[in-house]
């Protein structure tokens, strides 16, 4: 294993992680809800639900963040290498998978592990290991 020291941003990533933790803390302590983004988005598929307003507000916050960031600092670094067919396939898999598995990186990876939920710890290990295997196949076995 070789570490990419040029790409590695330990401090910025730690600070970003702390902000994400504070965000999850706000949502659970004030609203009593888990900041699971796949669950929040999926809930919007039933728009007459009483939870719709706060779900929209949360998603809006996520979408507005880069816009404010540009105004205050600079354009966020976002590099998307994948082509359209792969993006569609991946989107479908992420949509179906996060619903079957009842969570994604935020709901299981951040909030679930913070709750010390064995279920979320298993889910997080599974999606990280499978994600690593997928990248291995794409970059080193096929690529």
């Amino acid at each position: 294993m070789t570490i990419d020291w040029i790409a590695f941003t330990p401090w910025w990533s730690l600070i970003g992680g702390i902000l994400i933790g504070i965000a999850a803390a706000l949502l659970v302590l004030f609203n009593g809800r888990v900041a699971g983004i796949s669950g929040i988005v999926a809930g919007l598929l039933h728009p007459r639900h009483p939870d719709t307003a706060w779900r929209i507000a949360f998603v809006l916050g996520l979408v507005v963040a880069p816009i404010v960031y540009v105004l205050l600092d600079r354009a966020p670094m976002i590099v998307i290498d994948a082509g359209y067919p792969l993006l569609v396939a991946a989107g479908l898999l992420v949509g179906i998978g996060t619903r079957y598995g009842a969570g994604c990186t935020s709901g299981h990876g951040v909030c679930g592990i913070s709750r010390l939920s064995p279920r979320s710890i298993v889910a997080t290990i599974v999606f990280i290991v499978v994600g690593m295997l997928t990248v291995f196949v794409m970059r080193h076995a096929l690529g």
Partner: protein, 153 residues
């Protein structure tokens, strides 16, 4: 109204956290998942930071029955480690590894005006709708559908 205000603040901070940490960029996420190549361990630091704060917050939340705004504390109650959890998380892992997007960063990149993020997000919503169709066709005759239950997560 207050609930929406705090939800907006939480979503906004979450988004800023994803940008600052570098996780809004699929290339950086793939750098973490590529353990056989030049490995970028940054995502591990993100989890350390988020969970360090989260541990305190969820410990406090677990001792309360209502939130600070008086809303019921709705923490997941499902405890089963079953096939659904593992297969679902594995499917998500494949999608995540293919392009480097999970739901949060995709929405942030969408806000940054990336057409590719829009395409991913629309496909993701379509995937969620497909899931509900499958659940509904399988769940007919059963009481509460699983689709209703898992939305709580």
């Amino acid at each position: 109204m207050n609930k929406s205000l705090f939800a907006f603040a939480a979503g906004f901070l979450f988004g800023v956290g994803l940008i600052v940490s570098g996780m809004a960029s699929p290339r950086k996420v793939l750098g973490f998942l590529d353990v056989a190549g030049a490995w970028d361990p940054s995502l591990a630091m993100v989890m350390v930071g988020a969970i360090a704060v989260g541990l305190f917050a969820f410990a406090r939340a677990g001792r309360r029955s209502t939130s600070l705004l008086g809303a019921p504390m709705q923490l997941p109650t499902t405890r089963d480690i079953d096939r659904r959890l593992v297969v679902g998380s594995a499917l998500f892992g494949v999608g995540w590894g293919l392009v480097g997007f999970c739901p949060g960063p995709a929405l942030v990149a969408l806000g940054a005006g990336r057409v590719k993020a829009l395409v991913f997000a629309v496909a993701m919503l379509a995937g969620m709708i497909v899931f509900e169709w499958i659940e509904r066709s399988r769940g007919e005759g059963r009481g509460t559908s699983d689709a209703e239950r898992v939305v709580a997560d």
